[in-house]
């Protein structure tokens, strides 16, 4: 017997576009008539793939189309994809909140989901009552909850408030309590959807630790949906990339992430200025050059000491501004920032009319090999945003270590502040 605990076969999910109302009754009657005659549902044949950027001709859309994969016991599967790729729909089907239009999923063992913590909390009930309520919604029995009550209260850090109605709790306490219950479930399969985005830092650490325990320590199976590439990289053992409702790639985590990110990069325009940009209505940007080029992709050579940034545009009113850049690694993790407005209070008084800002940013003496993604901003610190571009360009670093002259190829995490080149 194999160790497959989840077997997903040709799962598809169809949704109707537009609003229900007129037409619903006629569709229902049509379906019923087809069923009576023993025919296939007439609306199953139509439907577009889920590309939300294109206007659809059909009233139906396939949120998921022919998803098939197997999950072995002990796998920690990271499911990644853009917004709308079908990740949440897949998890909803897995946790049986909704059912698939076609296909089947076979599951061995108890599956519990952390789609959202604190489900079923009632604000009038006390913390203790809510633990029982929430736990039983998740499928625990009274004995199970009782035996873990102390642990849960402890983990959530709400011992003092346990007999107070949760409406008096702070939102952080509420979230911690919810997660604590969920974390003490002992399902064979755990489904997690971006819960780690909440809570304070200390609690997040606890939560990630708990997930790691579940994943690595006890041989349980975890399905993890996240936009946080770093979390996926550190927690998961396998990756599934969804795109427009279909499986785009499946394999090891590094390969999956690379595939996903490469796909993102391909969409980028050739010139920086053509990438998505938001500006205040009073500002128009005519030209952006980073690292001496208008092109989105450029190379930071080994030993290069600075990066030039040029922004040219027009403003229709006087403004106080500053240029800010954030350099991120391929997981979207900030590595360094250039923000003299913040660091030194250095601001530019820019009169109405054309402007041109040129900055020469000093690079550190040691530089990792790999890609840097750049966010570019014009802002009046703490006052307003005037222009911002996320991932406006990609800098390919060859890597350099001063004194050795060779590339440094080692992941490092931490953020550093960059200054003007002297």
């Amino acid at each position: 017997m194999s160790n497959t605990v989840i077997d997903i076969e040709n799962i598809s999910k169809q949704y109707m576009l537009g609003s229900f109302g007129t037409g619903t009754l006629s569709h229902d009657l049509n379906r019923w008539w087809a069923r009576v005659r023993g025919k296939e549902d007439p609306f199953l044949r139509v439907g577009d793939t889920n590309d939300r950027t294109k206007k659809s001709d059909s009233d139906f859309v396939w949120a998921l189309r022919d998803i098939s994969f197997k999950v072995e016991q002990g796998d920690v599967v990271g499911i990644i994809g853009k917004n709308g790729a079908g990740k949440s729909t897949l998890l909803k089907i897995l946790s049986r909140v909704t059912s698939p239009t076609l296909g089947s999923i076979k599951i061995k063992g108890r599956l519990a989901s952390l789609l959202e913590v604190g489900t079923g909390f009632h604000s009038e009930m006390t913390g203790r009552e809510n633990i029982f309520m929430n736990g039983s919604i998740m499928g625990m029995t009274k004995q199970e909850i009782k035996s873990k009550l102390d642990e849960i209260v402890d983990f959530a850090g709400v011992a003092k408030y346990i007999d107070t109605p949760v409406k008096r709790y702070s939102s952080g306490m509420m979230v911690r309590l919810g997660f604590a219950v969920a974390a003490h479930l002992e399902p064979e399969i755990l489904v997690v959807d971006e819960v780690l985005a909440v809570g304070d830092a200390e609690f997040q650490k606890k939560a990630v630790g708990k997930m790691q325990d579940v994943a690595h320590g006890k041989g349980r199976t975890v399905l993890f949906v996240s936009h946080n590439m770093a979390a996926v990289r550190s927690l998961c053992t396998r990756g599934v990339v969804l795109k427009n409702g279909m499986v785009d790639f499946m394999g090891s985590v590094p390969d999956s992430l690379e595939h996903y990110l490469k796909n993102e990069d391909d969409k980028r325009k050739q010139f920086i200025i053509d990438n998505p940009m938001k500006t205040k209505s009073t500002i128009k940007i005519h030209n952006i050059e980073i690292n001496g080029t208008k092109e989105t992709q450029s190379v930071i050579a080994s030993g290069q000491e600075f990066v030039d940034v040029l922004i040219e545009g027009t403003t229709t009113e006087d403004m106080t501004t500053d240029v800010m850049l954030v350099f991120k690694n391929k997981d979207g993790m900030p590595m360094a920032s250039y923000a003299l407005g913040h660091y030194k209070g250095k601001l530019i008084a820019c009169p109405k009319g054309d402007f041109s800002f040129l900055r020469r940013i000093a690079l550190p003496k040691i530089l990792n090999k790999g890609l840097l993604y750049v966010d570019l901003f014009l802002h009046h610190p703490m006052m307003e945003w005037q222009m911002w571009m996320n991932n406006c360009c990609i800098l390919e670093c060859e890597g350099y270590q001063e004194g050795y002259g060779k590339a440094l190829d080692m992941p490092n995490y931490g953020i550093m502040g960059l200054d003007d080149f002297q």
Partner: protein
């Protein structure tokens, strides 16, 4: 080699595929829902659980004034307080079960949208917590009843009183079944919400709650069949008959109500079970 799966998620399901074992596993949850109803009922109230008594007392007094006093509708010689309170008790139980079941999906979409558990748990819990409320109010009814007994009113209490538990179950099933049927339809066709909210209020007048069946039989015999077609009629009349010896008690109509109840309940269960799997996409 055939592998053993714990459960399989697919689109198709058999008509009567209701997993009662699973519902049993979730009995803690049923208990918690019932507890929640009571815990939250009197939180931050001064009178607390007394509200369970205040509502039927005042309604009965109002009925005595309006229907007994102003309209002068006969109660067949039964003291008005006993007559109205008895009818109201049964009616309220039915209506509470019905209302609670009929908005299961819209009232719980937040929870239902996030986590799976057998949806039937919620209306079942509603029936149970309403039953407890019914039990509390029944003691009130018995107090009023005994008050009249000690004051020399003679009731023809009879053996059919043994049927009351059975009548109560029928009321519950009728309310639950009808409510589930409606809940499944309202998620898609919200028109029904409007129809139901005043329809259930009107139905009370189409049921011998505030008047005895005999009054209608004497004044408008041509409409009698409509009342008899209402499955609640024979149940409520039988309840009143059991305690007071006045009213209609007919095995035939009780059997009719029973069949009607079973059909509605089974139908509601099947439809509910079908809808629960996909309602999140529609609601």
């Amino acid at each position: 080699m055939e592998e053993k799966w714990d459960y399989i998620i697919t689109r198709e399901k058999k008509l009567f595929d209701i997993d009662f074992k699973e519902i049993w596993r979730y009995r803690t949850l049923i208990f918690m829902y019932v507890k929640r109803d009571f815990v939250t009922f009197y939180k931050q109230t001064i009178l607390g659980p007394l509200w369970y008594f205040i509502q039927p007392i005042f309604t009965t007094i109002m009925f005595m004034f309006v229907f007994g006093g102003i309209a002068g509708i006969s109660t067949d010689g039964v003291p008005q307080a006993v007559f109205y309170m008895g009818g109201l008790l049964c009616w309220n139980y039915f209506a509470d079960c019905f209302n609670r079941s009929s908005n299961v999906f819209s009232a719980n979409k937040g929870v239902f949208g996030k986590v799976y558990f057998p949806r039937l748990v919620v209306p079942l819990a509603g029936v149970i917590s309403n039953l407890i409320k019914f039990g509390i109010q029944l003691t009130l009814f018995l107090f009023v009843y005994l008050y009249f007994v000690f004051n020399g009113v003679h009731f023809n209490i009879n053996a059919s009183i043994l049927l009351t538990p059975f009548l109560i179950v029928m009321l519950a099933m009728l309310g639950l079944g009808g409510g589930m049927l409606v809940s499944s339809l309202t998620i898609k066709y919200r028109d029904l919400n409007f129809l139901i909210s005043f329809g259930i209020g009107l139905l009370m007048y189409g049921t011998p709650v505030i008047y005895p069946l005999s009054v209608l039989r004497d004044s408008h015999p041509e409409y009698l069949w409509m009342l008899l077609a209402n499955p609640l009629t024979s149940i409520i009349e039988a309840f009143k008959y059991a305690f007071t010896g006045v009213g209609m008690f007919s095995w035939f109509y009780l059997l009719y109500s029973l069949v009607f109840t079973i059909v509605i309940f089974a139908w509601g269960l099947v439809v509910f079970n079908r809808v629960q799997r996909n309602f999140m996409d529609v609601i």
